[in-house]
Amino acid sequence: MKRLILLILLLTTPVFAAPSNTMSITPAASDGTTITAADENSRNNEVSSKFNAHDHTDISQTANTLDVGQGGAGNKDIRANNADANKPFLRYDDTNDRWVASRNGVEITSLVVVTGTDARSFILPESPANNDILRYNSTVWTSISQGTAGQVLTLTGADLAWRGMATQGDMDYRDAVSRVALPIGSSTEVLTVASGIPAWETPGSTVTIGNFTRDMTAASGGVSYTGVGFTPKFVIFLGAVAGDVSGSWGWGDTSNQGAMFRNDGTADETISTTTAINIQTGVGASQTAVVSSLDSDGFSLTWVKGGGPTGTGTVTYMAFK
């Protein structure tokens, strides 16, 4: 860049070397006439006055340095005297202490200042192509050619490199170190997380069905049911003391419970919005339960005994993942 500035400076110097004053030597000599002392003095005066009037204060040259400016504050311009109304110029912006240039005398752009003195600091790659990216490779400035469609620029080791995905459906994610690809899974597989990274897996069962018994004479209290295979979202319960009129159809999670049941050991069906299981073997004789928690491998019920129920209830459950 310095070389460029110097070159422009040298090329434009002759423009400013032209004298600002016009010299006209009079009287002109004519054939057959006598040159008098007055004539000679007039001509000498013309030369000396023009010479003495010539001012080199604004532009001067000392050794290999060409100075532009009168030594005071303000912008210093080197202007191309071309045919345009607005002349292109190279300017030192004295207010902002920077070099600027104008290619049309109106629009001004700042010149890039490069620190460093060796060639790697200011030599740019030649013949750039469309979408090339400027890159410094620890030695010189070079360029990275554009990648192909779908590729991304990543840091691979110590270098930048384009990386794409080989197969349709592949996905990218970050592992502990860098961006890596997750190949597409198989049909019916679902994406999950295993050991902190995405992984494909075959989905397991989303419903578990089974049964358990409840001693209708048991005291109130909690019972945990484990071995479902997952943390259920909610559970449906069908319960009865076999052979009795005591049916209960209900469901529950920890927030909501509901059951339809046969009331007081009769065929009258009633609704409960506060219990998930409600098995009644007689008037006021019941075992009711609510889902108190949905656990990592099952659920917990809080049972409440009412009156003096008899027999053993069997409850079929459907736990939904």
């Binding site: 049964n211 358990f212 001693d215 909690g222 945990s224 049911y225 484990t226 071995g227 076999a242 027999g311």
Partner: protein
Amino acid sequence: MKTLLILLCLTSTCFAGQRVFYDPVMNVEIVDLSSSKSILEIEGEFGLVNVKKLDLQDNEGYRVKNKKLVKYNYVDDNIQQKQNRKNKTDQQAAKMKQKLGLTDAEWQDLKEAIREE
């Protein structure tokens, strides 16, 4: 819904036996629906240290009695309980019939009338 109840009753004895656990110190009752867990697994899962195990066969239920798990045949128990209730009801009905001085036919008519109510 009645179909579901029938299905429930039919299937309730079809499942394999259960495994139940009980910690008498903490009074914690756990039913292993998979019937596959060990005492150590249950203790680890629920943070217990005094767990006892009881395996149940088909038709067997369990009770906690005197801080111990006790199993019994709940099908037979239910039949017996039902019979006991029927006997009690029959005795009460016979007393009532006698007090009212009704014939068998009149007694049946009364029961039908009450049922219709």
